[in-house]
């Protein structure tokens, strides 16, 4: 059995690497994603620091001196409450109320520390007294939040189309019919396809991860092994989705339509680009049945919050169970012709 699986595995890999156009595409797409992100999240703005100010009617010299500091972007805000979370997430380095001379700074933020020194220096010759308010919280940028979803999304395209399209093409061409005339069983054939696609996708995703980390850099405080487990399980689950779609269809056009029909909703309902908090309840319910939601959420919890496997057990359970169910359905309804 393993001999047959191995033979099919090798054949599929060979085909993948020799099919230049498909190979180019599967490398190019991730590269484009990395370039896009590197471009979108590279600060060209020389204003390194951001300070939020509550404006006052009477201007003091010290105030003016502080506000004339170069390379600091001053943003006027109207209330304190709404600005505090931004300090906590390091989106703003310091909040200064020019009326009461209260200032808020995040003690874990390096930028906050530097801006605080500048503020104190500006008021050194003044008799006005500054009042320090300390806040806490780790920096989470949109980039950090969106990266897990982007990796998961790239995996989804590769899994659904890489499996679905290939099997449908094999069926249409008659490659499957020829295999049927050999002792190869559907389970052996499908196992080989899953394994081939799985390792290729994992390698590509590891490369994307390294590439993005090098060019843009993002937050990852959890365990790499846990993250790898989440992506592997997610990958298997998405591949199994592709298997179910490809189980019977013999027209590439129909397969293409169906694959798009499930991948695009997944793109937008799995909370990759924006949080679904506050979205319509039925949208949130739909999101829960999509494998991509669980991959993205689990990866976020590991990367952003440093969650362990126990904390994401529910996501892993959903992914594992769906994989088993989808694989069973796929193997059951599979047709060689």
């Amino acid at each position: 059995m393993w001999n047959r699986i191995y033979a099919l595995f090798v054949a599929r890999n060979t085909e993948f690497f020799r099919d230049r156009s498909a190979l180019a595409w599967s490398v190019l797409l991730p590269v484009l994603i990395i370039i896009g992100f590197a471009y979108a999240f590279t600060e060209e703005n020389p204003e390194k620091f951001k300070v939020a100010l509550i404006a006052s009617s009477q201007n003091s010299i010290a105030n003016e001196q502080f506000k004339s500091t170069r390379f600091v972007k001053f943003i006027e805000v109207s209330d304190i409450e709404s600005s505090l979370p931004k300090i906590e997430r390091h989106q703003v380095d310091l909040l200064f109320d020019t009326n009461t001379r209260n200032y808020w700074v995040n003690q874990t933020s390096p930028n906050g520390y530097i801006v605080e020194k500048l503020l104190i220096a500006a008021f050194a010759d003044s008799d006005q007294v500054l009042k320090q308010n300390l806040l806490q919280g780790d920096a989470v940028r949109y980039l950090d939040w969106v990266i897990p979803g982007v990796i998961a999304m790239n995996m989804m395209w590769g899994a659904l189309f890489g499996i679905g399209y290939v099997i449908v093409r094999y069926r249409k061409m008659g490659v499957l019919k020829r295999l049927r005339a050999t002792p190869v069983t559907p389970v052996e054939f499908l196992t080989a396809q899953i394994m081939s696609r799985l390792w290729l996708l994992l390698v590509v995703n590891v490369l994307i991860y390294i590439g993005m980390d090098y060019f843009v850099g993002f937050r990852m405080i959890g365990s790499y092994l846990d993250l790898f487990i989440v992506f592997t399980l997610g990958c298997i689950c998405l591949i199994c989705c592709g298997l179910v779609i490809a189980a019977r269809i013999s027209s590439e056009e129909v397969a293409n339509g169906l694959l798009n029909l499930i991948s695009w909703p997944m793109m937008f309902l799995s909370g990759i680009w924006f949080s679904l908090e506050g979205a319509h309840p039925w949208m949130q319910k739909i999101a829960l049945i999509l494998p991509l939601t669980h991959v993205t959420d689990a990866a976020r919890e590991i990367m952003i919050d440093g969650a362990g496997l126990m904390q994401i057990a529910d996501h892993l359970l959903v992914l594992g169970l769906s994989s088993v169910v989808l694989l069973a359905i796929g193997a059951r309804i599979f047709r060689w012709e």
């Binding site: 001999n3 033979a7 020799r18 490659v175 049927r180 005339a181 050999t182």
Partner: protein
């Protein structure tokens, strides 16, 4: 001789069409059995039922007395009518891949040698010519040293030279004692290769025996063939007892001497005259009222 494959009362329907209608056959071990018939007669459906590729609506198929199972898969070699090969893979890689599917396999180098695959061994399967592809497919179907080999129209679409070449390969396989079941619409191919033939039309078997036995049973006459243009216009047409096919007049006779005397008396030139025995093409025409390759 023992029966290696036995089918009884096979029926296969596609919607309203009964493609295979109550077909029963016994294939004896070591023989070459030919399923002959025009396009659409149900040959391919029948052979695919016997290969286990399609499931019959009714009837039984027994391989060495057992229903088709794992043993059959391991011991059967199959060459389909149209097979697309996996792309981006070389001929040699294809052979290696298929050899991994089976517990008992032929030596790949020997197969390459016997089926002359050496000259394109490292080419992508997409670059093969029709004849090369058929040779590869034949080699692939023999990779598991099959006891029974199924060939579905193995030479359709090949040029005469490639066809003859493939026939020689099939003869080699047969000489080793492999049972062969083949379908064809070339009566010459059936005559050349088969020990036994069954003629199919409209999903039924209408005649079944050794080719010579069939011919002897149905015919005790020969055909005198003359070029159509050699017959003077005044003796042409219905009053002249002949059928016209492919530019020739075919005169069926039990007494060649009398026919030739008659032709001489009519002043027909005999330079291009040919006398031939009745062939499977005639038999088919006789049995169905239509030509094999119509």
């Amino acid at each position: 001789m023992s029966v290696i494959l036995q089918v009884s009362s096979l029926v296969k329907r596609f919607g309203d069409l009964t493609a295979v209608n109550e077909v029963s056959l016994e294939i004896r071990a070591g023989t070459c059995f030919g399923l002959l018939g025009p396009n659409g007669a149900g040959k391919t459906t029948t052979i695919e039922l016997m290969e286990g590729i399609k499931t019959p609506d009714q009837g039984n198929i027994l391989y060495q007395g057992e229903p088709l199972g794992a043993q059959f898969r391991n011991e059967a070699g199959i060459m389909f009518q149209n097979t697309a090969l996996q792309e981006f893979v070389t001929v040699r890689e294809m052979l290696v891949q298929f050899s991994r599917f089976y517990p008992r396999t032929a030596d790949i180098d020997q197969l390459v040698e016997e089926y002359s695959l050496g000259e394109f061994l490292h080419q992508d399967t997409r670059q093969l010519s029709g004849g090369q592809k058929q040779r590869l497919l034949l080699a692939l179907s023999l990779i598991n040293l099959p006891k029974i080999l199924f060939l579905d129209e193995p030479t359709t679409g090949l040029d005469p030279q490639s066809r003859r070449n493939l026939w020689e390969r099939v003869q080699q396989v047969k000489a080793k004692g492999t049972t062969i079941l083949l379908t064809t619409h070339y009566m010459e191919e059936a005559y050349e290769l088969c020990d036994e033939i069954a003629i199919m039309d409209h999903g039924r078997i209408i005649a079944h025996d050794a080719p010579d036995v069939l011919l002897a049973r149905h015919f005790d006459d020969v055909v005198v063939q003359i070029d159509e243009n050699d017959i003077p216009p005044r003796v042409g047409g219905p009053e002249f007892d002949a059928t016209y096919r492919n530019g020739n007049a075919h005169i069926v006779t039990e007494d060649v001497n009398r026919t030739i005397e008659k032709l001489l008396s009519l002043g027909v030139p005999l330079d291009r005259l040919r006398i031939r025995a009745r062939d499977l093409e005639d038999l088919f025409l006789e049995l169905t009222g239509k030509e094999l390759r119509a």
